[in-house]
Structure formats: structure tokens, C-alpha cells
Symmetry: C3
Subunit: 200 residues, 3 copies
Amino acid sequence: MFYIIDILGTIAFAISGVLIAINKKMDVFGILIIAFVTAVGGGTLRDLLIGQTPVSWMQDITYTYVILASSIFAIIFRSKINYLRTSLFLFDTIGIGLYTLVGIEKGESAELHPIICIALGTITASFGGVIRDILCNEIPVIFRKEIYATACILGGISYFLLKTLPLDGNLIFVISGVVVIAVRLLAVKFKIGLPTIYKD
Amino acid sequence: MFYIIDILGTIAFAISGVLIAINKKMDVFGILIIAFVTAVGGGTLRDLLIGQTPVSWMQDITYTYVILASSIFAIIFRSKINYLRTSLFLFDTIGIGLYTLVGIEKGESAELHPIICIALGTITASFGGVIRDILCNEIPVIFRKEIYATACILGGISYFLLKTLPLDGNLIFVISGVVVIAVRLLAVKFKIGLPTIYKD
Amino acid sequence: MFYIIDILGTIAFAISGVLIAINKKMDVFGILIIAFVTAVGGGTLRDLLIGQTPVSWMQDITYTYVILASSIFAIIFRSKINYLRTSLFLFDTIGIGLYTLVGIEKGESAELHPIICIALGTITASFGGVIRDILCNEIPVIFRKEIYATACILGGISYFLLKTLPLDGNLIFVISGVVVIAVRLLAVKFKIGLPTIYKD
């Protein structure tokens, strides 16, 4: 079940990378690298920071196959990918929920402070996009127009609050993931963003 | 004592990150990330290169609190931060002295060559700013207008020269740190920079 | 023998970094950093991903001396470096062949899947240039106009195909390296690139 969500999220992340790389007129090699980085960059940074090497995607070849296949699919059908927009957005959002929780659990097994665990979860879910934007020579979009980091952080806080209650671990995992997903869906639907500190 | 300097340096680095991120019109999330990266980026790169993981700031939650508090302070009082300029410059300079020496000592305990240790010290003190500039989509300022890398390197050389004399370890640490601080203060006061290789 | 190729490749990579940094009007410190990153960036990223730390160049001071010496040479004779262009291109190409195979072998000793090993080889040979371009605030040239990643990948595939035959390990290493070199030389001579997916 979690594995399927993971794969769907990977597909959505990889395809979003492909579309951005095509926009930058990259060649096929560049497109594949951007797809990879978008899909596995956050988890890679997390693994490096806590010293869990070789990093995850190197240990399970499935991710490589999934990213290659969905990238080639997206390159071929790039003019028609718009029809999949809603599905991709959903996969992406569910993926973010899962990745946040996976990052938090990895932080916990490295015995890190809850706040650091939440930071790791947010890094897992959002830094693939940050590295992608840097490779595309853009200021990371998430630093200018926050899209989902707040959802990750609120999901992380829920996780540690729920852990103070006598609940089953899997249930806590699922509820917190749903918090991430719900916050993001509501934020997109009602166009809620972080309060701005600029006047104009 | 060293811990207090460390915290003061962290505050100065974080606030400098906040000001640059505000200049780039980032949102609150982006500002906090830039503050973090500026403050802990150099030490994080050092820890990754020598394989000391989880990286330092993940193991001591104090840094997170200090960076969050000084960032929020800097965001709120951003129009008045100019009054603190001299203090911040001093904290920053003292911090650089300390971080250089901390990096060198970590290199020594990993049994690396003195030149590599000096490189690690310089990375610790200066690569937070490099990563910050990359995230802000700028060529790192330190590569164009050298600000303090020379000070770090000269302090590092002093450290290894002093170690050939029969002196106390703490004394060597302090003297070398003072060399870093003094070189930087003199360079700023007398506007001394690296000789240019360009004609115009 | 391999060590000599390694050093020649390091020289070629460092000098190419110097020339690009001069183009960006960096100061001497920036030029040296770009030379370093171009020469050792790929191997450093590989070592980090598989958790082999301290990273290679920190454990053998020779690289540092070679990079410093060739950078200073290139800075002084920058207006005359054009006379060396053919030699540098050859060193560079032979270096790429070697680095690809070194990366693959490191992947193998970490017991990674052949496809991941080929990715590691390609990273070793090409990501120094990627990090250099990011530090210079450019979209990595290798993502827009593929130069040698295909050569690395084809050499890597040859390596694993040859391993199915009853051949000596060193021989396989050399043949696969020659494949990388030959593909790159032919691609440059006949101006063969990846097929474009754009219409104009």
C-alpha cells in the first residue's frame, strides 16, 4: 500500500520535472536528470544529512525504472499531458504526505529531536523541487510562493501530538499523512498562502 | 565561552541571511531556509565531506531555536536592523574566526593533511554564504570579491605554524582565531583585497 | 599508469575550470574554487552518495597540489592556453574514460545494481562540470548540449556486457575506457549529438 503511493508520487514528481526541463529547452539527457532529481532529490538530501548511505534510490532499482519509464512517457506525450493534470496533482499531493512521514520516521530512528524530524520530513517532501530549480537556474519556487512546506510542517506537528495519545503507530502515520494532504488541498482550493511581509 | 561565540556567530549569520532573502522578495518560509543555510551550511558541508553524520545542527537543537528566534526578530525589525550593523559585523567576524578553527580541528581528528584541514576550516566559515548565494540565484559573492577566505587561510596557516612550538593547545586555538579576526578587520578597514588579474 | 591518466585528467579539468571562472571575472579565490570543483566535484558527489568518506581528494594531497599548480599555471598563461587546446581536450577525454570506469568499480564494490553503477560512473565523469556551472550561475551545459554523458553510458554498458565473457578484469576495464574515449572523439569529430525533441 505505502509502496504503491510511493511509486505514484515518484511518477508525479518525475513528470513534473520533465515538463519543467522541456520548458528550459534541455536535451533528453538533461530532462532525465531533472526528472530524477525532482523525484529522488529530497530523499537523497535527507539520507546524506543523517548518513544513511548508499542513498535509498541506489538500493532499490525500481525507482530508476519508474522514473525512466514515466519520463519517456512524458517526453513522448508532452503535448497531451494536460489531460492528466488532475491525476498528477493528486499523486503529487498524496506523495508529499507519504514522503513527509517517511522523513519523520527516518529522523526518529536516528534518534533526532522532533523539530529536526519535522525538518527532515519537509526536506524529503520539498527539496527535490529545490534542487530541480537550482539546476534550472531559478530561485526555488517554494521560497517565493510557498506551496506545501506548511502542509508538511502541520502534518509533522500532528504526528508528534498524536504520539502523546495511546494510538496505534500505523494509525498515527495515516492520520498525519492525511493532515498534510488535506491542508494542501484546502490551501490550493481556497488559495490560502503564507501571510506576506511585503507591502505592495 | 566558545559556545557563546558560536551562538553569537550563528545569530549574525542567520540575520545576514534574512536580510538577503528579504531583498530577493522571498516569503517567510524562504527567508527561514536562507537564514538556516547561511548559518549552518558551511558546517553541514564540512560534516558531509568528512562523514560525520547526522550533521552537527541536527544533534543540538539549540542552533535551531537560535536561528528561528533571530530570524523572526530580524523579519520584524528589518527596517531598524541597520542600528545593529556594527555589532552584527563584529559577531560575524568573531564567528568566522571560531568556525575556521573548529573546521581545522575536525579535520585533524579525521587525521587529514594540514592543507586539507585549512580547506575544511575555510569551508566551515565561508560555504554557508556560498550555498545561500546559489539558492538566491547569484554567483557567490565570495568568488568575485573575496571577503574573508584569505583571513581563514592565514589563520589556518598560523595554527599549524604555532603547533610546531611548545605551546598550549587552547592558546594556539585562540591566537589563530585572533589572526583570522585581525586580518579581516584590517582588510575591511584599509579596503585591502586580493590583487586583481583583470586589467580594467 | 592509471594514476598518470588520473593526474592528466585532473589537470585538464582544473584548467577548464580556471578558464570558465576567468570568463566570469572571478577573483583568484573564486578561480581556485571553480578549478577544484570542476576537477573533484564528480568524485566527491559519488563518494557522498555511496558514503565513502572522507571523500577521495581529502585523503590524497597530490590532487590538491596538482590542481593548485595547474590553476596557477593557467592563470598566468591564460592568454596562451589556446596553444594547448588539443592536448587539453585529449587529457580531458582520456580522463573521462578513466573516471567513468572508476565510478563503476566503486559502485560494484558497494554491491550496487549495474544500472546504478553506470549512473555513478557518469556522475563521476560529468558532475564536476555540473557543479561548476551551478556555481557560475549557468544552466549546466551538459543538460542543454549533451557532450559526453552518452559516451560514459555506452562505455558503462560495454563494461557489463564484457563482464559476461571470460575476460581478464584489467582488459575489460581498458576496453570499456577506450569505448568512452572513442565514442566521444567520434561524436566531436562528426558533430553527432543526441536527437533533439524540439522542432525549431
